[in-house]
């Protein structure tokens, strides 16, 4: 599903060079729910950006769903993001001027679906996250948990092969966080691969696999002990 081989990413400013990822390698199989943890500055967010094709990298090979996406053009990468990846952000990143329906609609528009198809998908996915009755609400009229559910719905609407979640519960209280985690687990159990970046060990425990990043490299990977887990989940 996802394969990174010796990926390196360097951030340069006038004075400093930061090696955010160095010879970073990892494999994620279809249907896995991977939690990526690590101290701040370890390269978690860089990994997420590269995995989500939000950033390019200096060297190495990244294969997504079997095809090499290392050196795609900007437009191609947009299309891949749109079709194969769903994003869930820590601060939800809902568009404040658009209501719930229009927010979920955003990736579908870029996908080029017909109006009826979009409507069907939006309604069904809002049903899934339990917000079917809130289509006309603006983000500011929703609680944090509800906003994140809209964001999840938006990520799911395009039926992506895998979800990238960046601290999905970081801005939520414990109760809401639990319900969001339950939702993600449910989604994973329906077959969507999930990679979740978090600093919270208790959240990481709920994933089927844990990867610990330190200094831009994978330093621990729980897949050794739980090799059978993906099959079980699938």
């Amino acid at each position: 599903m996802l394969s990174m081989q010796n990926v390196a990413k360097i951030y340069r400013t006038d004075t400093v060079e930061t090696h955010a990822l160095r010879a970073f390698s990892m494999e994620v199989a279809e249907g896995e729910f991977v939690a990526v943890t690590g101290p701040s500055g370890s390269g978690k967010t860089t990994f997420l950006n590269i995995a989500g094709l939000l950033e390019t990298f200096e060297s190495g090979v990244y294969k997504l769903d079997g095809s090499d996406v290392s050196s795609l053009s900007d437009a191609k990468r947009s299309n891949v993001r749109n079709e194969k990846i769903g994003f869930i952000f820590q601060s939800f990143n809902l568009i404040p001027d658009l209501n719930v329906f229009d927010n979920v609609d955003v990736p579908l528009r870029y996908r080029g679906f017909k109006s009826a198809e979009r409507k069907r998908r939006i309604e069904s996915v809002l049903e899934t996250v339990g917000l079917a009755s809130r289509t006309k609400h603006l983000p500011s009229q929703l609680s944090g948990g509800q906003q994140q559910r809209v964001a999840i719905a938006r990520a799911l609407a395009g039926e992506p092969r895998f979800l990238l979640a960046d601290e999905p519960t970081g801005n939520l209280d414990t109760q809401m966080a639990a319900s969001v985690m339950a939702l993600l687990t449910e989604i994973n159990q329906r077959g969507t691969t999930i990679i979740m970046v978090t600093h919270d060990p208790s959240l990481a425990e709920q994933a089927t696999r844990n990867i610990y990043i330190r200094d831009g490299q994978v330093s621990e990977d729980s897949s050794a002990e739980t090799l059978s887990a993906p099959e079980a989940a699938a």
Partner: protein, 403 residues
């Protein structure tokens, strides 16, 4: 990218959009009306004076002193000017078209003070007049030397013959200007004059007069103390001959002053100075205003882009390509501009109706409004291009940045 969500997002952030739309609206109203005025003035300025403007200049000779003989001086001056190589012809006359000052009388087709008379500009010429001014005789015949006599300062008598312009002939004989030929018209109520010829076109000295093409040519030299010579030169000779003739006339007699050496081209320029000044200012205003409005669009769009950076990043992360982001901002501007130009069209027409009433301007041409609308839409699109491109270059990774 469809309009629906852009429009709905716009309605949530009305104020900025309304300000831009209003700005575009007022700009359109001003531009349309300014261009209407420019057109009106240009039309006025484009009217031909009827004379050979590029090759004509004129000057005044003012005699003083007791031993100054005006009659002899005029005859000798004219002979000398006409014999100067490069001069086509020359006459003494009271004025030239566009000069601003001149003589006007009233003509009527029936004698008596009860009959309505029509105002007409008077030029005193001799048999060289048509050639000097470069006028075209469409019917009848030119004056002969025998027709020309001398007019004293306070004279009230008029000669027997007169030439009229086609426009004046038509004013007197609405059935057709040819009717005038050979007919008798009356000056000063009951003094008869015979129309012996018709001139195609010539303007009166006052370009603002609504009867500007109503002119009569009278075969007389004037003895008014101050006299004006009109000189027509061969093409290209004018500038050389002007100082030459001025010097020659000054040399010929010490008892007079030569002044007011002016070309027809200068006269036209001065005559329309107010109009061309107005046109200049309005062109400046129109361009400046368009620039200001464009800058306003740039400013507000830039701000809205920087305020929406995260949103743009999110859209990019969700799969928007760069062109899609570009299109988003262009479309947004287009929607705002459309409203602006629609309101502006109404405003422009209203303003014009009011100005037509208050300042007797001519109503604007119907096509000006749509042309200006399209133009401003294009200006808007060009103005927003910069900020929109900046928006398109927002990296998608902005979405995951924690601020």
């Amino acid at each position: 990218m469809e309009i629906g969500p852009i429009w709905r997002a716009l309605t949530r952030n009305k104020t900025g959009a309304i300000l831009i739309a209003l700005q575009i609206a007022v700009t359109l109203a001003i531009i349309v009306n300014a261009v209407a005025i420019i057109q009106e003035r240009s039309r006025l300025m484009a009217r031909p004076s009827g004379v050979d403007e590029p090759n004509i200049f004129y000057l005044s000779s003012i005699g003083f002193g007791d031993d100054f003989n005006e009659r002899v001086t005029i005859q000798e001056d004219l002979d000398a000017i006409r014999n100067t190589p490069g001069v086509v012809n020359a006459i003494q006359s009271n004025s030239v078209p566009l000069r601003g000052g001149g003589w006007s009388m009233g003509l009527q087709t029936e004698p008596g003070s009860e009959s309505e008379s029509s105002g007409v500009a008077v030029y005193f010429i001799d048999e060289h007049g048509l050639d000097t001014y470069g006028l075209e005789l469409v019917a009848g015949e030119n004056f002969t030397a025998a027709d020309v006599n001398w007019r004293e300062p306070q004279a009230v008598e008029w000669p027997d013959k007169v030439l009229l312009t086609q426009a004046m002939a038509e004013t007197l004989y609405p059935d057709g200007f040819m009717e005038a030929l050979g007919n008798t018209v009356y000056i000063n109520g009951n003094e008869p004059m015979t129309v012996t010829g018709i001139i195609k076109q010539m303007q009166a000295p006052w370009n603002g007069w609504n009867g500007v093409e109503r002119v009569m040519l009278v075969p007389q030299h004037t003895l008014f103390g101050s006299t004006r010579y009109i000189v027509r030169t061969e093409p290209g000779q004018r500038d050389r001959l002007m100082p030459e003739i001025e010097d020659m006339l000054a040399e010929r007699s010490r008892d007079r002053i030569i002044r007011g050496m002016t070309t027809m081209e200068e006269t036209r320029e001065r005559s329309y100075q107010g109009d061309s000044g107005m046109v200049g200012i309005l062109i400046f205003v129109v361009s400046l205003l368009t620039a200001i409005t464009a800058l306003g669009i740039v400013g507000l769009a830039s701000f809205s882009v920087s305020r929406r950076t995260r949103q743009i990043g999110t859209r990019r992360a969700l799969g928007a390509t760069k062109p899609a982001i570009l299109r988003y901002f262009m479309t947004e501007n287009f929607l705002i501009s459309i409203i602006g130009v629609l309101v502006g069209a109404a405003l422009a027409i209203g303003l014009n109706m009011w100005m037509v009433q208050a300042f007797s301007l001519t109503p604007l041409g119907w096509y000006l409004v749509p042309v200006a609308m399209v133009l401003l839409l294009i200006v808007g699109q060009i103005a927003v291009l910069g900020p929109a491109r900046r928006a398109a270059s927002v990296p998608p990774a902005v979405a995951t940045r924690t601020v």
